[in-house]
Symmetry: C2
């Protein structure tokens, strides 16, 4: 019903970051792929088995220092239904280790269909009386172009979960639509941000942040700061740190005076850390990920100070 569980984890670990799990085959050490191909061949099943094994290793090394993971749905769908199976297993494994799971799916549709997405990713599916979790994530990213956030709010109310709505995305072309100005003088992203504040009233949280968050890219630090001031109850999911160019100074404006208010994502930086360490044994890829996660945590906490409740 809010991001309280996520924020509890951030405070406990003193770490406002999330590890993005967007596993391309290129990121995965050969020994994992070879084992998977030996069992399933060079097939989508084989690729999916490698993805899951890679993720499992990362989660084992990260769960005690990083409060959340964010699997990106596209990189699982690329490997067909087998890839989507690996997504489901990744979510279940991360949850079994106590991590908060944000499925980055940017789902959107008209009301009745949005309800199906909300049930699929956050809620419960009813199979003629049997209640089953299809994917069971804790939060889902959502695109608000259709104005149909309500069905997701309803599922979140029932189940202590949350959603992040795209406000200002990290890509270079995000301005083409999002920076355009309406006839009332407000930009699209500000307008979408204000909608987050309104929708969020339905999912209040103990830290002052609702269960309706906003995606705001690290690559736009000025907008991050502006939105932090104007959206006091909206928690930010901040992509774009690291590989996309955002640094600790860029993300600092996303936080409030307590060091709360945002969680910063790094995907390639963490997943591919092993490729940047000289002389590392590929079997130690997850320890390299852990070192990078700690470095990132320390770099950001140096800017925002101790995180207080």
């Amino acid at each position: 019903m809010s991001f309280d569980r996520l924020i509890d984890g951030i405070v406990k670990m003193q770490n406002p970051t999330v590890a993005g799990l967007d596993p391309k085959l290129d990121f995965i050490p050969d020994y994992i792929k070879e084992n998977a191909y030996m069992e399933y061949g060079k097939t989508l099943e084989g690729a999916a088995a490698a993805l899951f094994e890679f993720n499992k290793g990362l989660i084992d090394e990260l769960y005690d220092i990083v409060p959340a993971v964010k699997p990106q749905a596209a990189y699982y769908e690329m490997y067909g239904w087998s890839g989507v199976h690996a997504l489901q297993k990744t979510i279940a494994y991360a949850k079994s280790k106590g991590m908060f799971v944000i499925t980055d799916g940017k789902r959107n549709d008209i009301g009745t269909t949005m309800e199906a997405y909300a049930k699929a990713h956050l809620g419960i599916t009813d199979v003629d009386g049997e209640k089953i979790e299809a994917f069971g994530a804790d939060a889902l990213t959502v695109n608000g172009y259709l104005g149909t956030v309500k069905p997701v709010l309803d599922v979140c109310k029932d189940s202590d979960k949350g959603l992040f709505i795209l406000v200002k995305t990290s890509n270079k072309s995000s301005g083409e639509l999002q920076d355009r100005i309406f006839d009332d003088g407000k930009t699209v992203y500000r307008t979408m941000g204000d909608m987050c504040e309104n929708w969020g009233r339905e999912l209040p949280g103990k830290y002052g942040y609702s269960g309706v968050g906003a995606v705001v890219g690290a690559t736009y630090p000025q907008q991050l700061g502006e939105l932090r001031k104007t959206l006091p109850h909206t928690f930010f999911l901040v992509p774009g740190y690291g590989a996309q160019g955002g640094g600790a100074a860029d993300v600092a404006p996303a936080f409030d005076g307590r060091g709360l208010g945002a969680i910063i994502n790094s995907s390639r930086g963490i997943m591919c850390a092993w490729k940047k360490e000289v002389g590392i044994e590929p079997r130690n890829y997850a320890q390299a990920a852990r070192r990078e996660a700690l470095r990132m945590r320390d770099e950001i906490v140096a800017y925002i100070g101790q995180i207080k409740k």
Copy 2:
């Protein structure tokens, strides 16, 4: 690279409609579900087996009179990875019958991730040298909020496929953002429509329509007519006919003088036709769907006349 194949089918069958495959368990006759539960139990696998069997029956009765199907991804994801497997099998089966398949996924993300979605749904996945189709649809619906359509265009160029971008959606709340007016006096939906025309230049087609289509709801006939005039190269996918309230008179403005320019979707109307026929044997659900599809075709063609090349 365009919608030529889709339009070929529309002209050949004299039918500008698409059957939406959004199968909820409620829509499926009991005998299909009972068979599936007997084999897999009341599980996500059982539900997915029922979905596919239901779809297969519909496709068998529709493929010679309806040129295309549009499975809605949400209703498959609701049944987990098993449901997504049923989506993949549905796409493959419809294609084996010669139907044009539009996956309604409304996917969107930053550039590199959008590329993964495009490969997943329309293109080819590379598993260390093996080239495999993950889902293999002919077209994908896309949400343009991020301004990252380019990677989908690139995949379509390589593979004779197309995309439909959300412009003016059929839901009641679509106006909250899409009808807002920019400081240049244009609405959001008009602006997005103009982007479709621009992007479409990269995927020209022999009928004058590009491979970049637009989703425009049947529930907004005035906007349909306005957009038909201002977007001469953009083919429309029109949801909202039937169950959502749009009728043949409402969708008529979507067509040009040749009876081309749009394809009208009906989902529940076709899938649930058997529930409305008095005294029908549930085993004949697909014949009822065929009767409704023919009725819908005749109703629309009565407004637009013979469809000419």
